[in-house]
Amino acid sequence: MNGTSRGWGVKVVASVLVLLSAGCRAAPAFDISGSFFPAWMLCLVVGIALTFAARYGLMRLQIADEVGPPALIYPCLVALFTCLLWLLLFR
């Protein structure tokens, strides 16, 4: 299990590096049927989804109850993922 998580981590780091080195910066807005939404909104949606995944991961590691007050940790995770995605993709 330890090896698996390390492999997963390596994959994340690798993809992050690829994204950064590609310097691929798309327009920081999205056209959704004629309305332009800012990129951070998309990042927020993805960030919320990733937070669910992280919660699942923490539960798998059996530390979900030990990381601290959920009212602090999960908004922090949402903010973290949102900002990180935004910084990586749309900086």
Binding site: A29, F36, L61, I63, I73
Partner: protein, 400 residues
């Protein structure tokens, strides 16, 4: 301590580390994001712009030809439209004819003035000859004076002769009674006295005549001087009656300006594109009446593309002209264009600038949160793609 308790402590420690790591990382990442948005201000409140002109005729008339279509690309110097030019050509011909008429009038007048100039020359010659007359009169006077002097000497000589003859007669006459002299001698002496008397009389009358001639010569000089004055008066008269072409010459620039104006109007009948651009808002056809000052259509200046991005006032301090900007068009979000900040707007209409009935109109509000004003930042697109760019497109700009 049981195995499960040890495991639980281990999990708790791990959980705390992960939780603290999440919070610390979040703070860090949020700070980085804030720093990024401050140092690279971005806005999606931006549109693509080009400068444009409304094409306005400067002369009135019916449109004779309109070889362009709406949304057509035209190059600099291409004909946009032409207006029926005949009235302006007639005006041009008229003004040229007026100019030619004036020139021939000037030629005529010059000829007449040349004749008047010859009259002046003749008058000047008259003055000259009258001066000569004066000089002749002066020498006449001198000659008369010499004659008078001669006559005076002759008179004096005759008088001396008479005195001598009279004295001789006086000496010999008493001697006749005593017969010391003969009658003949006395008669001779008497004759000598008479001859001397006559000669003296002749000399006197010659002197009178010479004096009269002198007076005549003086009068002749006065007459010659009067002749000079008269000749000079004639000359002045001749000079003053010489006409000038100044009035006609003064009309030359007026008529030339009229010709230029007419030529300009003829030129203005053909309207050409002042730059490469796209025709827009063209909704008329041949035969439309062109009014000076009324727009016919619009021409977009394709030489320079701009993105006008409205940035919040709080971001303006991070940008200055010359900085690079990444630009995205919402019509082509996959393509990135580069731009350069050309200038930052110095004015927008203030929110509280309304005036009603001569007084500022101020709302009664209780606003604790104020929205930042936005100022238009003009960004010149460095690598525009004419196939993609359209005026008014939505754009996103990020200052780098």
């Amino acid at each position: 301590m049981t195995m499960s308790e040890v495991e639980r402590d281990e999990r708790r420690r791990k959980g705390r580390v992960v939780g603290a790591g999440i919070v610390a990382l979040t703070v860090l990442v949020v700070l980085v994001a804030v720093w990024q948005t401050d140092s690279h201000p971005r806005t999606d409140d931006a549109t693509v712009r080009v400068n444009y002109i409304t094409v306005i005729p400067e002369v009135s008339g019916l449109l004779e030809s309109l070889p362009i279509k709406d949304n057509q690309y035209v190059k600099k110097g291409d004909l946009l439209f032409s207006i029926d030019c005949r009235p302006y050509e007639y005006v041009l011909q008229q003004s040229r004819a007026n100019q030619a008429l004036l020139e021939s009038q000037i030629v005529d007048d010059k000829r007449r003035i040349a004749a008047q100039g010859s009259a002046v020359d003749a008058a000047r010659a008259g003055v000259q000859s009258s001066h000569t007359g004066v000089a002749a009169a002066v020498s006449n006077i001198d000659a008369a004076a010499a004659t008078v002097a001669r006559a005076q000497s002759a008179a004096a000589a005759a008088q001396a002769q008479l005195t001598l003859a009279t004295a001789n007669l006086g000496r010999i006459e008493p001697l006749l009674a005593k017969q010391y002299v003969t009658y003949e001698q006395v008669d001779q002496a008497r004759t000598a006295v008479r001859v001397a008397q006559e000669s003296y009389n002749g000399a006197e009358s010659a002197l009178l005549q010479a004096r009269a001639q002198q007076g005549q010569a003086v009068a002749g000089k006065a007459a010659a001087e009067a002749g000079v004055s008269q000749a000079q008066a004639h000359l002045g008269q001749a000079i003053h009656t010489v006409d000038t072409v100044d009035t006609l010459m003064a009309q030359r620039p007026v008529l030339a300006a009229k010709v230029l104006d007419a030529e300009l109007n003829v030129e203005r009948c053909r309207v050409v594109a002042p730059f490469d651009g796209y025709v827009t808002n063209l909704n008329i056809s041949e035969g439309a009446y062109a009014h000076p000052g009324t727009a016919m259509f619009t021409l977009l200046d394709m030489r320079n593309w701009y993105v006008i991005a409205n940035y919040r006032e709080s971001k303006l301090r991070y940008m200055k002209p010359g900085m690079h900007a990444d630009l995205y068009l919402m019509g082509h979000p996959d393509r990135r264009f580069s731009g350069t900040i050309e200038s930052i707007g110095y004015g927008v209409l203030p929110e509280d600038a309304r005036v009603a009935e001569g007084l500022p109109e101020v709302d009664r509000t209780l606003n604790w949160v104020h929205l930042a004003a936005r100022f238009p930042v003009r960004i010149r697109v460095d690598n525009p793609d004419p196939q993609v760019f359209r005026m008014g497109e939505t754009a996103v700009s990020v200052i780098r």
